[in-house]
Symmetry: C2
């Protein structure tokens, strides 16, 4: 019998679910609205029912599934399987989703926060494949991350490791939403990109983005990258700042956990090679001379399915290692 692994990506708007073969190749996927307003029990019911229907639709059965992976947003107690809180699911506090889902499906559930899930997905079958030490950044509205050390996710003493967006790179620099000053998130997130561009245009910088601000009352990160591709100088300056901030955290991570590969994911990588090449340039300019082993810096490859792929890959890994727990 071939094993089938289920990966679930619980988001604020939608629950995405995929079923995968034992090579973590996608067989079939589906999506359903989260409806957090109906409460955690209903959300857990929906996850279980949608997973079962997905299997049926794919001509498979729950009997073929040794384990299920679940990724949740925000800080999560992975040891206890508890989702603590999340900006985009404000109704939910300390919900034991691992136990709730495991009871409904009668299967062991492996649980992680969404950044670790996506990190593990890239590590197992994406851009991080083939290395044992990896660092992963998600560049979205904010910046999240994951760290693989010697083939294992780094969790830290309170399951809050790899909050990589809040590495301070300018102690006297910009305020971050977290309350710290000078976090990389304040220089390299989509929010910060939009904000820095807006401030610059409002401050009188010459840019084709001025028209955007006048017409839309705001500049988005997407606008910045569109105008970058069209050759706007301010957009280039803003992007250079982003790349510089990311290069500094790459150097720092190299001196801390020494990854073989650093993988960037999230909406911001839509900026493309221009951003990636600038990060590499700054990295090479600022890294110490003694460095011998090259580190590879690249973009993620799994795209929007990273959540379900990573969750299924975690489920498979726990099964392979004999580390499955129910509840």
């Amino acid at each position: 019998m071939n094993e089938i692994f289920i990966g679930i990506d619980l988001g604020g708007t939608n629950i995405k679910i995929g079923c995968f073969d034992s090579d973590i190749k996608l067989i079939r996927k589906t999506s359903t609205p989260t409806r957090a307003d109906m409460g955690p029990d209903t959300v857990a019911d929906k996850m279980a029912q949608t997973a079962e229907k997905l299997l049926t639709d794919a001509g498979l059965s729950l009997q073929e599934v040794p384990s299920v992976g679940l990724g949740c947003p925000g800080p999560a107690k992975y040891r206890e399987g508890i989702m603590e809180s999340a900006t985009n699911l404000p109704e939910f506090k300390n919900i034991p989703f691992r136990k709730m889902l495991s009871e409904r499906l009668g299967k062991p559930v492996v649980f992680e926060n969404d950044a670790n899930v996506a990190c593990w997905g890239e590590y197992a079958v994406g851009a991080g494949k083939g290395v044992e030490d990896m660092v992963f950044f998600t560049l979205g509205t904010g910046i999240g991350g994951g760290i693989i050390n010697n083939g294992k996710l780094v969790h830290g003493c309170g399951d809050n490791a790899a909050e990589l967006g809040h590495i301070i790179i300018h102690p006297d620099g910009r305020m971050c939403n977290c309350g710290q000053r000078g976090c990389v998130e304040a220089y390299a997130s989509a929010n910060s990109t939009a904000k820095r561009a807006t401030e610059a245009v409002q401050g009188g910088a010459k840019s084709s983005l001025k028209k955007v601000l006048d017409e839309n009352d705001e500049i988005t990160c997407k606008d910045v990258y569109e105008h970058l591709k069209a050759g706007d100088k301010l957009a280039k300056k803003i992007t250079d700042e982003t790349a510089m901030a990311l290069a500094i955290v790459c150097i720092n991570m190299l001196h801390i956990t020494e990854p073989k590969r650093i993988v960037f994911a999230g909406g911001m990588i839509g900026a493309g090679e221009i951003l990636l090449n600038r990060i590499k340039d700054y990295f090479n300019e600022h890294i110490w001379a003694l460095r011998k082993e090259p580190v590879e810096i690249c973009f993620a490859t799994l795209g929007e399915d990273a959540g379900i792929i990573g969750a299924a890959a975690l489920a498979k890994q726990a099964y392979d290692e004999g580390k499955l727990k129910s509840g």
Copy 2:
């Protein structure tokens, strides 16, 4: 039969050796000049002979020793047991000391660089006892470090992880000896402390350290801390800068590997509570508001024996885990 563990600390000037019981309590220790000028074979002979004599003098025998721990300076390939290079042992390049010592003693040898050894010593029986996640800084001429994640040393893809002195905290800041700009080492090492004080006095800052510079042609780190204790304002300012730099890397490490405890060791901790309290103050001022779990910041407790203690503790751990290799 009680097991006896041997810990060896290979330094540029002296080889220190201790024998320990299975609680890593020191039974007896000794020291002998390294004499690197006589070549690596002679140094390995000296390590083996001195260890055997130490056992004899303590009324013990090599038969009671299941494993030996060896700490070497500088970058080291711990997987291969090779000392790559070291500033204070410039004659030695890529010396397979693990194999050489193991052959001479007929015992498995556990091998690490000296910062990891001291880190492990503090973790096993010193200031880090009782936690599973720890970060360790040695504040000496330069700054080194070690990271314990989930009870294991973090080595990285090329055995160069935990080069914590080269975390960049001011990308546009002071040049570091490593070739990078703005490393914490450029703000918080003993060298940097002396250099910053000298620069300030030469630049006209009022300080009781001026007399020291005039008389000795230099200001040392020790001078700075002596004048700090006597109430000199410049010494306080220099120390505040040091503490601020160390607080920033503490915050960064908390967001990266999330230690439960951060331990500072090395000559600089001679500055005492004044330095430690400033680090804690800055840490608490700059850490994000969301932080719930407190991290403990403290000084190391093992002192100059950390090297032999840590090496013996590593030897014991490998023995306990059944992970011993010869050669």
